[in-house]
Point group: C2
Chain length 188, copies 2
DNA sequence: ACCTGAACACCGTTCAAGT
DNA sequence: ACCTGAACACCGTTCAAGT
């Protein structure tokens, strides 16, 4: 990348981060370009779509999130790992309002800039679920898809200001539906 | 209302119903007006906002839904009433794609055309939950708000084509989190 | 009373022309 | 290589002018 392009790229990302933080996720691409003192076409040249921009904005946190899944899988007990994973996911969702909606729409669309991230989260979740199921602490009539769905639904919900305060509690309710009550005790 | 206005109103509603059914919930007001061979301003005179239009489109089904809650409360056992309520809600959500998102956004906004409907669903849900809690078949650490939240999250989720096939199953998972396992047995 | 075209201030997409 | 103004086809809002 040419030096001026590199500079534009970083500048746009920084401006976008700032403007999204204090004006929300719905800002128009035009506004971001305007704030960055750059033509709209320039912004779109670096980030051809809104998803591409958000993917770049969240990449660091997304990587940290999926890496955390691996650590939990390796170090924590299966049930605790799943619970902690819910907490991590929720923290991510609350740090990036609107991200869950974008991801839920992108997760079946391989052309989306967010597709790979969705797949990574999906895969990490499925692993943690499988581990919990193998240990007999999670219900067996559930797939990784179901888990990703419930996580998405929860993430969407806590984006609504009226439900944000109940986030932790709602998360526990859903988690309790997944984890079987008696640790190690099979349910049928 | 003048005769010509009444006729326009019915015509617009019919056209909107048709176009929403086969082109989805995201159609523009302009497209609806166009299809109805009417000026955009005329459409907006009858339905000043998109929410007002959808409220009119769903009014019949919404009334039927909340009425059903009353019947379930009166006739079914508390746990079964809550389960049936979930089923009814899900059927409504699937019959009106996009409705849940509109309702979730409207439910704290008294100015919204959908506010009253949200309040009715919320109230009906809270009654069924309270009844189940009094009978000792639903967890006590939950409010009507929580239930409405979980219902909204579920309704949003099954609007996504990839999750629609799992709707019934996902609904059961969430329901199982609310209903306590041993009927009549208190949990603490 | 009710309807409507037109002006308005937006939006994201595209591309020919500039450096 | 990279940038950008301008044209484009949209969107919902508003209102003066028509019937």
């Amino acid at each position: 990348m040419r030096a001026d392009a590199q500079k534009n790229y970083s500048h746009l990302l920084a401006v976008a981060r700032g403007i999204v933080t204090d004006r929300g996720t719905e800002v128009s691409m035009r506004d971001i370009a305007r704030r960055a003192d750059v033509g709209l076409a320039t912004l779109l040249r670096h980030f051809p779509t809104r998803e591409a921009l958000f993917e770049a904005l969240m990449r660091t946190d997304l990587d940290a999130l999926t890496q955390m899944a691996g650590e939990l899988e390796a170090t924590a007990a299966p049930a605790e790992a799943l619970l902690s994973w819910f907490t991590e996911w929720l923290a991510f969702a609350q740090a990036h309002k609107g991200a869950v909606t974008l991801m839920a729409e992108a997760h079946t669309n391989p052309g989306s800039a967010l597709y790979a991230s969705c797949a990574a989260v999906h895969l990490a979740s499925a692993h943690l679920l499988a581990q919990a199921q193998a240990a007999g602490v999670a219900r067996h009539d559930m797939t990784g898809d179901d888990l990703f769905g419930l996580m998405s639904a929860l993430g969407w919900l806590v984006d609504l200001p009226s439900f944000a305060p109940r986030a932790e509690h709602l998360s526990q309710i859903i988690a309790s539906a997944i984890l079987t009550p008696g640790a190690g005790a099979e349910m049928r």
